[in-house]
Structures are given as C-alpha cells and as structure tokens.
C-alpha cells in the first residue's frame, strides 16, 4: 500500500489547478471516458465549496460571524476589566503563518481569549488556538470553543494551518500543567512539553513568536486543587480558586479578578532548517524549546520587576 505523504501535500494542496507534467501525461493512459458518459455533465458549482452553504463555519469549525459577536461582547472585559496593554505587537507578522507561543495561567485560562481578541482587533487577522481535545468532549463549551477558533492540538492540524493556509496559530506548550499551577508557583513556567511546537514550526517553515503575559495568573489564582477529583469529572484538575472564596462557588467559577494585563511580544525566532523534512534533530528541538521557554521566563521576570501593583500595573 502506498499513500502520498507530506511531500505530496504541496502539489495536492492546489488540487484544482494541479498541472501534470508532460512525462506524466505520456505515461498515464488516456481515459476511454465511455463509462462515465451517462453521468451528468460537470456542474458550475462542482468546485465552489461555499455554494449552497447557509452558514460561515469554516473547515476548522471557526465562524467569523460568531467570532464577531463574541468580540463585541468581550471587548469591554478586554478594555475595562483587564485593561490590556500590548508591547511589540508589530512583531507579529501581518501576513504569512506564525506560531505564537505564550505562558499559560489561571484556573480557567484567561490568557487565550485576551491574546486572540487583541490580535484579531488590532491586526485584523484570525487566530486559531491549538488546545487539548478535552474541550471537544464538553457539550456547548466544545462547540463554542470551536466556533471561536479552537482547534485540536494535533500536529497535522498545526501543519495545515501554518504551512498550507498561512494562518496565525496560538498555542501554550505548557499544556494543562500551566493553568494547574497554584498561586505560590505563579509565573514559574512549566516544562514546554517535549518541544513538539518547535518541530511543527520547523516542518511548516514558520517563525515562532514568543509572548509573555503578565496578569493572567492573578485573574483566577488557584488556592488548592485536586487532580483525582478532577479526573473523576473528566477535567484535568478540580481547582479551588481565590475567586471561589471571594465570590462564592457559582460566580467565582465564571468571574475573573480585575488583574492588569501586560502582554509583551518578543522577537520572532526563525529556525534555520528546511521545511517538510521527515525528521528534525531531537536534541536541537529540545534545545530550541528550552530556549523559547527561557526567553519567556526571563521576560516575565523583567516585567514582574517593573510591576508596581497587581491591579494597576
């Protein structure tokens, strides 16, 4: 059995305007065509994927209409509650694919919506967020997550988004270990997985843009957590947050504390390797991943040293 691997993807991507070389035409037997004649002739809408569509949900499940509604609802939270301030936004490419990497925090992470909202409103580009597939198991939340631009963190998805569709992709290499940190461990970055994000950026030939976020940790700090109780409920952990203590079990689950957000975009990192290789040096991947982690960690320390107040920045 042979199947086309990645090497084939580039020519396959342009399926519709795929042009065969002279040699291929010579070696491919010309189809007799008789067998197909009784079937209807080509239809005008045969290749237009948007024909007959009623909604605008794209292949990833994201909907610009839903996103627009969400942006309008979220904007006051972004501007008035978190009072988000960006530095170095110009470092995010205005076109072409890029992998955005950030630190991850708060019991229910508040950083992903803030970063996505900020980039979409400031740069007018969609951002897809790669995340754990746990979201897809939750009714309503899973669907909303997907409509907002959430995509399962599968290497194939990242490759297609970055390499073939030249999109901005946001991911948090700490994974669930980031938000699971308790208040005492705040701003101490966890291991960056096994460096999968570096490998994806190498394969897709896109830069990694590190982003350091200050404020998310204090928006919903975890006082105590239980991994086993969480697992029983199908969650990665069950947190008890400061919000719960202050606002009660219901409001405390959904309401963030008004921590001041400062977000600093660092210089993009380009890996000097050819894209689309079958494999990349494992040691190089681990080293680069650790390098990115260290840069974000160092920047966080600088930003925290400058911060006078958790609430006013």
């Amino acid at each position: 059995m042979t199947t086309g691997g990645r090497a084939r993807d580039d020519e396959a991507r342009t399926g519709k305007e795929f042009v065969r070389t002279g040699e291929e035409i010579a070696t491919t037997p010309s189809p007799p065509g008789h067998a197909l004649e009784h079937l209807p002739a080509s239809r005008p809408d045969a290749t237009d994927q948007d024909a007959h569509r009623l909604g605008d949900v794209d292949e990833w499940g994201r909907s610009e209409r839903w996103r627009e509604v969400a942006r309008r609802a979220y904007d006051p939270i972004y501007r008035r509650w978190f009072r988000v301030e960006w530095e170095g936004l110009e470092r995010i490419p205005t076109e072409g694919g890029a992998l955005l990497i950030s630190n991850h925090a708060a019991a229910i992470p508040s950083d992903a919506p803030v970063i996505m909202h900020g980039i979409e409103t400031e740069l007018d580009r969609p951002v897809y967020g790669l995340a754990d597939h746990m979201f897809r198991d939750l009714p309503v939340i899973g669907t909303l997550w997907s409509r907002m631009g959430g995509v399962v963190g599968h290497p194939d998805n990242a490759y297609r988004l970055l390499r073939e569709q030249h999109q901005l992709v946001l991911t948090f290499p700490e994974g669930e270990k980031g938000p699971a940190k308790t208040y005492r461990e705040r701003y101490q970055l966890r291991r960056f997985g096994r460096g999968g994000f570096v490998e994806i950026a190498m394969r897709a030939g896109v830069p990694v843009v590190p982003i350091a976020v200050v404020g998310a940790e204090e928006s919903m700090p975890i006082v105590a957590r239980s991994i086993s109780a969480g697992r029983a409920l199908g969650l990665p952990y069950l947190p008890l947050t400061a919000n719960h203590l202050l606002l009660g079990p219901l409001l405390g689950t959904v309401a963030y504390l008004p921590a001041k957000f400062r977000i600093r975009v660092l210089d993009p990192i380009r890996f000097d390797v050819p894209p689309d290789q079958d494999r990349y040096s494992r040691s190089r991947i681990v080293e680069e991943a650790e390098g990115v982690r260290q840069r974000i960690q160092d920047e966080l320390h600088l930003m925290l040293a400058d911060r006078r107040s958790v609430w006013f920045g």
Partner: protein, 354 residues
C-alpha cells in the same frame, strides 16, 4: 489501448444486489471495452442491467474460485462491504465483510487466477471518531483510538486482509477507496433516514462537521480507479465540511436535541419507534469527521459535487418527493424476463454504443 494488460475487460462485481454493486455494473456496461460483466450477489440486481450476468451466491462466496477460473475474470470490483450496522445483525456483517473478503482475496490470488485489478470499496469509518482526531484524516493517518464500533472493527480487519494481499500479490493492481458518508438518489442510510424525519435529531451542545460525497461521485471514483490504474489507498469525499445543524437547515428541517449523556441508551429507546441511530452515527454526531481528498484529486479526479452540493442535491430530491411522492417506477428483477432480454436471438441489440 489494446496492448494494456491491465485494461479491465472481464469484470466481476460483488454485491450485485446492493445499491453499489448494481450501479457500478450499470456504469461498466457503458464501456464497450468491457466485454464481460459478472455480477455476484445474494440478491438480484437493484437496477435494470443490460448485459451483466447475475450469479447467485451465498454471502461468503464459496463458489468464487470456480467462477473466476471459469470466466477468466481480469478485474474484480468488491463493493459488497457493509458500512451500515443498522441493516443486519453483527454476525451477518462479520460474515459478509470479513469472511467474504477473505474468500474473495483467496480466490483472486489462486495460482491460475487471471485477475490483475482489484478495487475495494471501504469507508472512512476505519479512521474512527473521537475528540482527539485531527481535523482532516489523510490516507496514512492512523486512527486516534482502537476501533470502538463493530463496523469499524470489521472494516479494519478487512483492510488488514487487503494489506496482506498486496504484499503477497504484487502483480495485482489494488485500489482501496475509502468513501465518506454518501448522499444520493435512492440511497437509504441512517443519516438519510434521520434527515427525512420531521425533526432531525442532534446531540444537545454538539454541532460537528460532516462531510458527504454524492453517489454519482462514488461510482465515478471506482471507475476512475480502474481507468487510471490507481494503486494504493485513496479517500473519496466531497470538498469542504458542513456543521450538522447547517446540514439540517439546507434540507429545510428543524432539529430536536438528544441527551449528550447516556446517548446510547436514549438511542436504544428510540429504536422501537423506528428511529435507528447506530453507534457509529452517534459518534459522528458528537465529533464529526473530515478526510483529506486531495490525493485523489491530484491524480486528476474531478468531483461533481462538493459536500454542500451533495446536501443540496439531497434537499432538492426531498422537496420533489414531498410534492410528487415516491412515484418513480421501482425495478423488480425477474429472472425469466432478464434471461430473455439478454440471450434471446429475438432481441435486436444495438451494434455498439457510440
């Protein structure tokens, strides 16, 4: 093309009594270079066939080796794989899919077999369906989890046999086509039944992406594989994906929510009232599935329908049916009449279709 040893001339179609077997045979009849078409099946053909010879066989094809030997078949189109678990008991599905394919492959690889082409109609069900799936499955993407439904297990076993067959028989050109959910005229599946209900069921809180292929494109893809001598695995699915709620909306239907917890139990309770949603469909209604169809389009195949186009065609058929009812004539196979038309010297046949 007279010197082409792989040109299909004597073709055997399995499952002639099924939707796909009959339609593939009918399409093959239009090709004058195909001299002989033998249709093998438990049931007689579903559509009118002009020159296909119908051979009645049990589901596990015990007579196949003799048949292939006697007719010097050079091409086998294996359409008889069950992908809809609601049709029959698990035992029968196993018998048809796994045992049937095993016997078929054994007969095809017999020492004096003349078979050089084999097309197998599998399904994208083999990729499974779970929350950790990639958004698009490529032909070489492994399933995220081990098989969960009977149909998936059965088709996975079938593909295992096919894989072994390819290794053992390098002289046979084999194409394994994996089709996604099909919509088309006269085709009844659990999904089309669901879409015909006054209220279309959906899982509360879930609205996954569905991908469809039109039945015309299914038949065309199988013929395309034969004509171009494709070998290997190919996904066959319309371009694009459409959320289930939008599928219902294009069909002009409202939806009714099913419980997202204990869904299997709820589905079982609905079975007595005639709403049958097999496990495989329930999984799909939770997570959906998308497959990458670009390997086949890169070979030059052109789809006539996108996913949304196939849904629209189905919706049009629904609207027509609402007005005129199921008024189209239904074909009934009558052996004596068919034998007369095929073999009697009294019947004047067209010399050659042009």
């Amino acid at each position: 093309m007279s010197g082409d040893p792989y040109r299909p001339r004597r073709v055997l179609v399995t499952g002639i009594g099924t939707y796909w077997g009959s339609r593939v045979a009918r399409a093959l009849e239009a090709d004058p270079e195909v001299e002989v078409i033998v249709g093998l099946g438990v049931d007689p053909p579903e559509v009118e066939l002009e020159r296909t010879e119908y051979v009645r066989a049990d589901a596990s094809y015990s007579i196949l080796a003799r048949l292939i030997d006697a007719t010097r078949i050079d091409t086998v189109v294996h359409t008889h794989l069950v992908v809809d678990a609601s049709q029959m008991p698990a035992r029968a599905v196993h018998e048809i899919n796994v045992i049937g394919t095993m016997n078929l492959l054994a007969a095809v690889s017999a020492p004096d077999s003349a078979v050089r082409n084999l097309v197998v109609k599998s399904s994208t069900i083999v990729y499974g369906c779970s929350s950790g799936d990639p958004t698009w499955f490529r032909e070489d993407t492994p399933p995220t989890r081990p098989p969960t439904t009977r149909i998936q297990r059965s088709l996975t076993e079938v593909e295992g046999y096919v894989r072994d067959f390819v290794v053992d028989n390098p002289h046979v050109n084999l194409t394994l086509l994996r089709f996604c959910k099909v919509l088309g005229e006269g085709l009844e599946t659990p999904l089309t039944r669901a879409l015909r209900l006054p209220l279309v069921p959906h899982l509360a809180g879930f609205d996954p992406r569905f991908q469809f292929v039109h039945s015309d494109d299914v038949v065309r893809a199988m013929l395309f594989a034969l004509e171009r001598h494709l070998s290997g695995v190919y996904n066959v699915a319309g371009d694009g994906v459409v959320p289930w709620s939008e599928v219902a909306a294009i069909c002009g239907k409202r939806t009714v929510p099913l419980t997202p917890y204990g869904t299997a139990l709820a589905a079982r309770l609905m079975r007595p009232v005639g709403i049958d949603l097999p496990d495989e469909i329930l999984e799909l209604m939770r997570y959906g599935r998308g497959v990458d169809n670009r390997l086949l389009t890169a070979e030059g195949f052109e789809y006539r329908y996108t996913t949304a186009g196939a849904i629209d065609a189905f919706a049009r058929a629904l609207r027509l049916e609402r007005t005129v009812g199921n008024a189209r004539p239904v074909y009934r196979y009558q052996r004596d009449v068919e034998t007369f038309f095929r073999h009697s010297p009294a019947v004047i046949r067209d010399p050659e279709p042009t």
